[in-house]
């Protein structure tokens, strides 16, 4: 356990620099986005009201008030978020392959630690989780700050203040609901499903690292099998066209399948790491 924590700390520190730089980009770009969008809106408003002499009420009903909604749809806001998602997705693979490739042979060290090799696996998956939750947490902290800046810049009668949930449902980006779900239960379910997916991917990587070219096929095969097992309750119902289970029951069964698939993945990975892995 202690060595597991040390490994988590070590793995996190390895990516920390890049990670904090990305957080900084997120911060700067989004705040810049808020300022630019507000400025644009104000300029446009002034022009319309003072030059085109459109009455305020008519302007508002025609063009609508300013809100975070308009900021969200700009590349300044959504761009760095996409970058963060991309980094995590990419790092799921890199976190393993960087130990094999390159000048160093750090994987020798990791595999020769006097601790269960599974701890290396768990430390890496924990790091991925920490990175993901860190981004989510940081974005949630940023949002009220950005809203406040908008409040400073745009007068109340031209502005609608939106909460995070309101923003997501009024914007077109419903995908954001996956990242910032409405309730804590959905949060746990969404990220739980993400965790299942990452363990499957990690296991596929373990297959590849154990059997190389043959391992790619084994890894893909394992992933497909895991996905089929995971969705088996739904697939069976669709196939039979018999919707026997209530949605709540499907959810419970799916949670159980998720736990089963995760346990299988970790068990298989443990076996591969202990018996089959190659440096």
């Amino acid at each position: 356990m202690n060595r597991y924590l040390k490994l988590v700390n070590f793995e996190f520190n390895r990516i920390a620099k890049v990670y904090f730089v990305l957080l900084a980009i997120l911060l700067i770009s989004q705040i810049a986005g808020v300022i630019f969008s507000s400025k644009n809106y104000l300029n446009e408003t002034n022009r319309m009201i003072y030059e085109e002499l459109i009455p305020k009420a008519e302007y508002l009903s025609r063009y609508g008030p300013m809100s975070m909604d308009q900021v969200l749809s700009s590349i300044w806001f959504i761009g760095p978020m996409a970058l963060c998602v991309a980094l995590v997705a990419f790092y799921i693979f890199l976190i393993w392959y960087r130990d094999w490739f390159g000048k160093n042979t750090f994987i020798y060290r990791l595999l020769m630690l006097p601790t269960a090799r599974l701890n290396v696996f768990l430390a890496k998956i924990t790091t991925i989780l920490l990175m993901t939750f860190g981004f989510v947490a940081f974005q949630l902290i940023l949002y009220p700050i950005e809203s406040t800046i908008l409040k400073w810049m745009v007068p109340k009668e031209f502005r609608v203040d939106l909460s995070v949930h309101e923003l997501i449902s009024s914007s077109g980006f419903l995908e954001l609901n996956i990242i910032f779900p409405n309730s804590i239960i959905e949060f746990i379910l969404n990220y739980g499903a993400g965790f299942v997916a990452v363990t499957i991917l990690f296991t596929a990587i373990m297959f590849e690292r154990s059997y190389r070219i043959k391992g790619i096929l084994l890894g893909i095969g394992y992933s497909i099998l895991a996905v089929i097992i995971f969705f088996a309750p739904i697939i069976i119902q669709e196939f039979l066209q018999r919707y026997y289970l209530y949605p709540s029951e499907i959810l419970i069964v799916e949670v159980a399948m998720g736990i089963i698939v995760t346990c299988c993945s970790i068990w298989v990975s443990n076996y591969l790491l202990k018996k089959k892995i190659r440096i």
Binding site: R3, K6, F10, R14, G102, K103, N104, T105, F106, Y108, R109, L111, M112, L113, P114, T115, A116, R117, S210, K274, K275, K276, I277, R278, I279
Partner: protein
Amino acid sequence: MIEVKDITKKFGRRKVLNGVSFTANKGEITCLIGINGVGKTTILNAIMNLTPINSGHILINGEKIKKESYEKITFIPDAITMLPQMRIAEAMGFMNDFYDCWNQERATELLGFFKLKESERISDLSKGNTAKVNLLLGLAMDVDYILMDEPFSGIDIFSREQIANVFTSHLIEDRGVIITTHEISDIEHLIDKVVLLDNGNVLKEFNAEEVRENENKSVVDVMREVFKA
């Protein structure tokens, strides 16, 4: 004692190890000799459970390798096992963090011996100094066995001498060492036991001292005989 019993290893259809057996004792330097590509590194990897073998088994002090074994046996591969962005001090800190058998005093002593600075980054080191750090990280562990893969390859002459000096020092005393090389000259006079490998087979396993005393032959003489035949 490290016992390697009848291990075979295939890479695809190619058989790299074809029933290799030998033993290495504590307090002795055992040298695996063979031209490149005969599977010397594979044997060391197999001992450390870094590559699966197809058959046979390997015992360390009578037991199969397990996670606790890594406090008793260490492996110094031919490339450094630390991240290039680390400073030497950080690399030592890492070892100290994870290994109970890490001996910080000895590490400091070795730093002085190799004339290395703690604050240097591994990526900035010369090839020779990188090899020395690699060696340092292995030697500063209080382990029973040290495996070394080609410690002299591609290193300048002065570094070689420094490294060779290690073998006669108290740093090696009482430990069991397995070393691979394709060039025997630097350490010929140091080694106790020789395992000659070719085509995945052990051609000959002999005691260097005995050959020297009884047959008045050097290790190289024996190699010539064996490989010619």
